[in-house]
Amino acid sequence: QQQVKQSPQSLIVQKGGISIINCAYENTAFDYFPWYQQFPGKGPALLIAIRPDVSEKKEGRFTISFNKSAKQFSLHIMDSQPGDSATYFCAARPNTGGFKTIFGAGTRLFVKA
């Protein structure tokens, strides 16, 4: 089973701080790496995504860093706000076999006011 390993399981950050969530994937052909944000009682929502030919992508306070050789990617949330408190999932989509996305186990982020 292809896997995406996500850490930490939970994270507490002070308001204004930087939240960092890390993911690693195994030796397979993934071509798309999205991050999803999930609030309680809601389905996950696409937050930001990157292709493996790009090392970094920034959208507002959210940045994905991608290290293809290490098979690792991470989400940085700058100037974290209490409204960012949610569960974050990294994911990877293979470029074969039907394109079904594989998700990490999730990180519960709590931003203290």
């Binding site: 996500q6 071509d31 798309y32 999205p34 999803y36 009682g41 809601k42 389905g43 996950p44 929502a45 696409l46 995504a49 292709r51 999932f89 470029n95 039907g98 394109f99 079904k100 996305t101 594989i102 998700f103 990490g104 186990a105 999730g106």
Partner: protein, 115 residues
């Protein structure tokens, strides 16, 4: 519609009963996925439909689970003879499909409780 719609939002059923969960994807999205999320856990892939192709059922946990997609649109996930371990949130997602820079749009899920 504007988003992925799932119904019911909550379902409580007795052990051994059958349940049907419905998903109405975004119009024009050819790909439809079902995932299961147990309390505090990640997303477990169940089944995937793409256009008129045979569905990818590789994630269905047992033969009590089945799904269909009619007319390339609405999908129904059926769980027969429900067990307590089937209690979870069942999420449906749709996408344009294929290899594009295209993420999923999820519904809000159906919270299934088997008592």
């Amino acid at each position: 519609g504007a988003g992925v719609s799932q119904s019911p939002s909550n379902k409580v059923t007795e052990k051994g009963k059958d349940v049907e969960l419905r998903c109405d994807p975004i119009s024009g999205h050819t790909a439809l996925y079902w995932y299961r999320q147990s309390l505090g856990q990640g997303l477990e892939f169940l089944i995937y439909f793409q256009g008129n192709s045979a569905p990818d059922k590789s994630g269905l946990p047992s033969d009590r689970f089945s799904a269909e997609r009619t007319g390339g649109s609405v999908s129904t996930l059926t769980i027969q003879r429900t067990q307590q371990e089937d209690s979870a949130v069942y999420l449906c997602a749709s996408s344009l499909g294929g290899a594009g820079m295209d993420g999923y749009t999820f519904g809000s899920g159906t919270r299934l409780t088997v008592v």
